[in-house]
Every structure is written in C-alpha cells, then in structure tokens.
Symmetry: C2
Subunit: 234 residues, 2 copies
Amino acid sequence: MKVDCLSCENTNCLIKKHSSNPKAKKILEAKHTILCKKGQSFIMEGAPVHGLFFMYNGASKISRSGQYGKEQIIRFASPGEIVGHRGFGVNENYHINAQTIVDSTLCSFSSEALKEFLLTVPEMAYDLLLFFSEQLNTVETKVRTVAQMSVREKVIDTLLYIQRKFGNDDVGIKLILSRKEIADFSGTTEEQAIRVISSLKKEKLIVAQGKRIQIPDVALLQKEIESHHFYLDA
Amino acid sequence: MKVDCLSCENTNCLIKKHSSNPKAKKILEAKHTILCKKGQSFIMEGAPVHGLFFMYNGASKISRSGQYGKEQIIRFASPGEIVGHRGFGVNENYHINAQTIVDSTLCSFSSEALKEFLLTVPEMAYDLLLFFSEQLNTVETKVRTVAQMSVREKVIDTLLYIQRKFGNDDVGIKLILSRKEIADFSGTTEEQAIRVISSLKKEKLIVAQGKRIQIPDVALLQKEIESHHFYLDA
DNA sequence: CGGTGTCTTGATTCTCATCAATTACTGTGG
DNA sequence: CCACAGTAATTGATGAGAATCAAGACACCG
C-alpha cells in the first residue's frame, strides 16, 4: 500500500504542495509508505539516517536520551510534518529517537531522491527552508522555556502546546499522553508533573479524568505563564 | 566600504562559496556591509526583520529575553556564520536579540534579494538547508543540556563550546566573555557560574586570570560531562 | 582618586529531584 | 465475570542543589 500524494489531504505537507509539479514525478515514485504500531521507533539514536519521514497520519514524539537514559522529548509531530531533519543530506548519524505514540502511517524518502528533488525544484527547497526556520524558532524558544521557567510553568506550557498542536474534542485533548511523556517534554520528573496537574485540577484550570485532559479556558491558563511578563512593565 | 565576497577568506561562508556563480552578481551588488561597535544590537527583539546577516569578522551573541528580562543566550556566532534565520522569508517578527561582543563587521542582505538568489541557485538553497539542519541539531541538543545537566556540567559544557567555537591562543580562549554571559548561555545565574569556575580553578581543570580562561586539558574537562556523549558543534 | 561595574564569597531560603509507599487502572487468562 | 498481575498514577517525606540576598574585593576609567 502506498499513499497517493495527489489525493492526500494534509495541506500543510510540502511534498503534497509540490506534487503536481511534473518534476516531482520521480520522487513520488521513489516514495515508501510505512505503517507503524503505537510505540514503534522509526528513527533510532545513533543509527545512520538514510532519508526522512513525513507523517501521513497519527502522531509521534522526537526525543534525545541524556544522562542515565533520561529522555528529553524535543517535540511532537502531527500529520503533514517532517521528522528527521538531517535525513536529506549526506549520510550522517543523527542523534535523535523518533517513536510513534499512536498507530501511524509514515511516508519516507531517500536522501538521494530528496536531494535531487530539492535541486530541481528550488521552490520546494525554499519552502523547506521556511519550515526549518520555523522549527528553529520553536526550539530556540524551548531552550529559554526549559532554562527559565518553574516546573509549574513548564508543565502549563506543555499542556498548551499539546492543545495547540493536536487540538481537542469535547472529551479533551485529542492526543493522550502519559504523565511521563508530559514530564519528559516539560523537562522535569514524572512526579513533579503529576503534582502540577493535580494542583491545576484543584484550581479548576483544567479538567482531567485519568489521562484525558481538558482545558476549559485556554486564555486563563495562558495567563499563568504570561503574568510575569506584564509584571516587568508595571 | 563594502567587503568583496570574492576575496573574502571566510571559506565557511555560503555566500562566498557561491559568489563565483554568475547568477550571484545581482545579490552581491545588493549587499551591504555594516560596522558594529562592541555591544551594539543589530537585531532587536520584537522588531520586524527585513533580511539576514553574515558575520564577516568579530563575534556576536544571539539571545532571547525571558521572565523578568532574564536573558537566555541561544548561541554565539563566529565569522562566516549566519545570524537572523528568519530574515530570508516574508517579513516577520522574530523574537531574538543579536548583539556584537567585540567590534565586528557584518554583511547584510535583504529578504527579497536573498529569496531571488535562493530560487535561482538551488545549490545555495540546499547548502543553506544543510546549515539549518545543523543548527537545529545543535539547538535540540542544547534543550537537553539545559534540561538535564547540573549547573556544574552546564558551565563546563559552555566553556568547551566556546573553546571549540572560538579556539584559543597561548593566553587562553580568544573570545572573552563576562561571567554573566557564561551564565546566560549555561542557563544559570552569574553567582552559580562563578562558583563553578572557582571550583574548576582549584581543581586545576582550568586556568583563569580575570576574564581570561584557559583549558589546559580539553579531554580531561570533557570527561567531566562524559555521560553526555553528544556535544554542541561549533 | 572617587565612582561604577564586574567579580567573588558567604549565608539563607526554597524549589525540585529522589525515594518510598499506596492507590487506581488495564488487560489477560482461568 | 472475576482474580490476578503488571503498569501507570498519585501522594508524602526528605535531602540536595540551586537561586536569592547581601556584602565586600577588585579592576578599570574619567
């Protein structure tokens, strides 16, 4: 089974965007589609990377393991997004770990095919540059977040990020994460994340039933991590 | 005064690399060269960005201010490097602050000129993509560093980074930073950074006279953070 | 020489990681 | 359908490490 880019509905996907370009024919033929069960690693830390992935559906987490194997989740990827930034260049070891968090479908391209595509369709290269600069912006912000915020603020920041990224339905945030995953993205421990979540529940800033978390008033929660900025101006 | 790319000796500069391409003529003409005194901000947080900069000589720091105005230095830039990643796209507010730390010369290009260049010379776009992916890798590693390392490890990591990036002469690391700048990059306070530096001095892991810091045995210092195999590249 | 800014050290406070123990939840096989 | 095992979530207690506060030393500059 192979996903057809022309009929794909991920309008944010860059391959899809340029798929009607006649020069894209070759790369579309070289495409592979992979099915991944929940929890499957499709990029392993330390192993050489031979290409890069686009999420067709599902969700995944991109992480790095640090001291004593403690995991740091760098970001989550939703449909249409790229995973494995280094995979389009020369073969290199890229020290990240990418793992699906629900059953997912991935589209994969080899480095060579992609390089050729980028060099023949400069508009695609340009769009990819924009995507990268956006990513850089996001990650740079994360450095500051992790370095300066309190645990409470970091967890709130994470909840808002998940909400923005994966949206919600009437039951809560669509993507269900374990407390440990929330902690690993926030840059704290599982216990601390739990404590913050418990507090937020008591304060009615969130509604949580087991793993399902709902944010009744996003703006109100947002205020919790912005109040400090206003304090400066006052 | 305008620096001539063809005779520029920053072999790592991407503009220089493609400057002999006939299609580069236009962008080279549109180039501006700017002199900045030490401490001068050339990208201000919140202000719109109209282009991007290449360091011709000198050094600069790229930061974001966070809570209570506390500064988080994201990276340092050395000659040949690009500053202002978002400046090649549409006009956007890019919330970073870029400031020289010694007298520096900068080359600047407008978004439009650069966009045109990238679209006509796909090899340049491809090289820029490689640069961006490298940056992403570096910043992603920094997220983990800041989140998981102890203050001592973070400061050591910073010293090694500065050493790699700016090298040293017989007196010590070429680039002289204040303790506050070391702290702001490490993600800690000035006092804590000073304490670590003092300890390292006592342990003979570094030699320091005032602001000049020397690392007699890089490998030895590296061992201190050994459990984190993956360090930031220069 | 006074003054300003950086650097340094000590004392105190407080946040957070860690350890430990308990409780809920999930799925599986009898 | 229940018992069980295994996993995830939760709460409490404690100690370590780091931020903060405060005060003094040092260097550099007009």
